[in-house]
């Protein structure tokens, strides 16, 4: 019996030789191909069915007898693909894919690539071929890909370029006519530079077009964005100019709408430009008052002074949602100057920022530090920030700031040693360089000498009053 199907070229290792631009799409194993009329034509049993962009290729399994029975059906010859019928029968049977193939006069599959003359006069008859999938492959997926490839008609573009190149290269350039673009060892042969260039050109043109389409949308977006930015700028200008004309007196309506605009701008992320000139955006004003109220209790607990960062954390934690940014916090604190609130923001030389009660007085703290540092123990060994923190009832970091401030005021002196960073009462002011050995009665030096000498440290001249 003769073969119903076209012959498919195969390499020495059994791989199909692909046409120019032909790409494999899917494959199923253990497939039988049954032409309708299997009286005259042989069944192809249990082979590998490969779907490509151009053909359906059937390869015999390795156990089959002849490697020459590799067959193919050009997709161009397929006139119809039947959709899969899900019936009760199909549950028990192996899945089947059925399609209709055009046949030529000899009853075999019509091969569009053979004979240029028959391209117009295609076979009039069609025969149904059934592919029985006995293997475990994805039948439905294969069917979908089958449809796609068949509809894509990839072989037509190849035809155009190959026929164009065929005429350009003249005689004897290609072995077959039209689509035969492969050589016997399986490699694809270039069929002429013009064809390739044409293909490249087409590809570029289509890419260009699709890019243009995409960018049309982007351009539209850009122009809208520009409009939006201009609008926001106009509003900003209006707000700014509005403030400068405030001397003439604004009526309530103006103020109201202006505040609305500010709020709206703020919600879009544009900081109100009026903040510095006027009392500031309403939002910050409210926040400032709320913060002043909130911070009262933590301040008391912390002994009258709290680190700004600590206050920020506490505040946000209390708010729960609608957290404020550090910037908002700073703004809110700086607004306190303008209101009558009992708290203030303070920046130390070291850069540390704290919130403290307005009633807090540095003098009071210094008095407490002085009394601490003139105790006998402190006279002997000085005090550390931790010692001060415990006595003053404040955080060690705050205590250190206080000690540094006291030092800068000349109340304390620092002592840096392997033991650490400690502070002593400042004795220097009392000492006279021209009379170094003299110690005043009842002065701080005298007190210090007494405190130190109890531990047995031999010290300089005693005062004139003998003890």
């Amino acid at each position: 019996m003769s073969n119903f199907f076209s012959k498919a070229e195969v390499t020495s290792s059994g791989r199909p030789v692909l046409l120019h631009n032909e790409v494999e799409c899917h494959l199923l194993s253990a497939v039988d191909l049954e032409p309708e009329d299997h009286r005259h034509f042989s069944l192809l049993k249990s082979g590998l069915l490969i779907l490509t962009t151009h053909r359906l290729i059937w390869l015999p399994s390795s156990s089959a007898s002849t490697p020459t029975s590799a067959s193919a059906i050009p997709l161009a010859a397929i006139s119809h693909i039947f959709s899969s019928k899900k019936s009760l029968k199909s549950v028990f049977h192996s899945p089947r894919i059925r399609f209709q193939v055009l046949v030529s006069s000899d009853g075999r599959v019509f091969d569009p690539s053979s004979g240029s003359g028959s391209s117009s006069g295609s076979g009039s008859r069609s025969v149904v071929v059934t592919a029985v999938i006995r293997g475990k492959g994805d039948c439905d997926g294969f069917l979908v890909k089958f449809w796609d490839s068949w509809r894509a008609r990839a072989w037509e573009t190849t035809k155009i370029s190959s026929s164009g190149s065929g005429s350009a290269s003249g005689s004897g350039a290609a072995t077959g006519i039209g689509g035969g673009l492969y050589s016997s060892d399986g490699s694809v042969r270039m069929v002429g530079v013009a064809g390739i260039l044409r293909k490249e050109q087409e590809m570029w043109e289509s890419t260009d077009k699709s890019l243009q389409d995409a960018f049309q949308d982007l351009n539209a977006l850009m122009s809208k964005a520009k409009e939006m930015v201009m609008l926001a700028e106009k509003m900003r200008q209006k707000l700014l100019s509005g403030t400068s004309s405030q001397t003439s007196g604004t009526n309530d309506e103006d103020m109201g709408s202006k505040e609305e605009m500010q709020d709206w701008l703020l919600s879009v992320g544009i900081i109100s430009p009026v903040t510095k000139e006027s009392a500031g955006a309403l939002y910050h004003q409210q926040l400032s008052r709320q913060l002043a109220d909130f911070v009262r209790i933590p301040l008391e607990r912390a002994g009258g002074m709290i680190n700004l960062i600590d206050a920020y954390c506490l505040f946000n934690r209390a708010r729960g949602t609608e957290l404020i940014s550090p910037d908002d916090m700073l703004q809110a604190c700086s607004l306190w100057e303008k209101f009558d609130v009992p708290v203030m923001l303070r920046k130390f030389d070291s850069g540390v920022m704290v919130i403290q009660n307005k009633s807090h007085s540095d003098e009071e703290v210094f008095a407490r530090i002085k009394s601490l540092v003139t105790k006998p123990e402190a006279l002997r060994t000085g005090i550390s920030p931790t010692d001060a923190a415990m006595t003053l009832g404040i955080a060690p970091a705050m205590a250190k700031e206080h000690l540094l401030t006291a030092e800068s005021k000349g109340l304390l002196c620092r002592d840096i040693s392997p033991d650490g960073f400690r502070f002593y009462i400042n004795l220097f002011p009392e000492i006279d360089p021209c009379n170094m050995y003299f110690v005043k009665d009842y002065g701080i030096c005298s007190t210090w000498i007494k405190a130190v000498s109890t531990t047995g440290l031999g010290i300089g001249e005693r005062s004139s009053t003998f003890r």
Partner: protein, 179 residues
């Protein structure tokens, strides 16, 4: 009374902050003043003419309170002396400092008095004799640093009070007085 050798130390020598360079300007100025006086006093009584920063200098450490002046502090105090004209750096690296607990002019005056006291007005002496001769014993000139002596002599030479002449070696450098 705490002593360093036979030198009486002031009470604040045991005050730990004295050994830490103070950052606050007013406090620091006082501290520097006290150190300057102390250094000059100590060098004068102990006849120390050169202080080397990288070597042990008894005045810069206090073992009782376990404190030592940092290099930065030492340089600060000595530089203050230099600025006042009471000391000079001997090298660019500021590692060695010449202490002028008498200014050069003062030394010159001391030499003139020495010459007058001993009747050397027209005599000739070697430089070595001035610093270590029998006559110098008991005077401040005894054991004077050679560099300082030469500077004082040169100053007097400029004023025409003497003439320095070179011998066959440095030891033979001589002076002819014409006080």
């Amino acid at each position: 009374m705490q002593k360093l050798g036979d030198f009486k130390l002031p009470h604040f020598f045991n005050y730990p902050p004295y050994f830490t360079l103070q950052p606050v300007r007013e406090t620091r100025e006082k501290q520097i003043q006290l150190w300057k006086e102390l250094i000059l006093d100590y060098c004068r009584t102990q006849k120390i003419f050169i202080v080397r920063l990288e070597e042990e200098f008894p005045l810069f450490s206090n073992s009782v309170i376990e404190r030592t002046l940092s290099h930065e502090a030492r340089e600060a105090f000595l530089s203050a002396l230099v600025a006042e004209g009471r000391a000079e750096w001997l090298d660019k690296g500021r590692r060695n400092c010449l202490i002028l607990w008498h200014r050069i002019q003062e030394w010159a005056d001391i030499i003139v008095n020495f010459v007058k006291d001993n009747g050397f007005e027209d005599s000739v002496m070697t430089v070595e004799e001035i610093r270590s001769g029998i006559e110098s014993r008991g005077t401040e000139l005894h054991g004077i640093d050679r560099t300082i002596l030469m500077r004082a002599l040169k100053l007097l030479e400029q004023k025409g009070k003497l003439a320095i002449f070179k011998g066959t070696s440095t030891d033979d450098e001589g002076v002819k007085f014409s006080v």
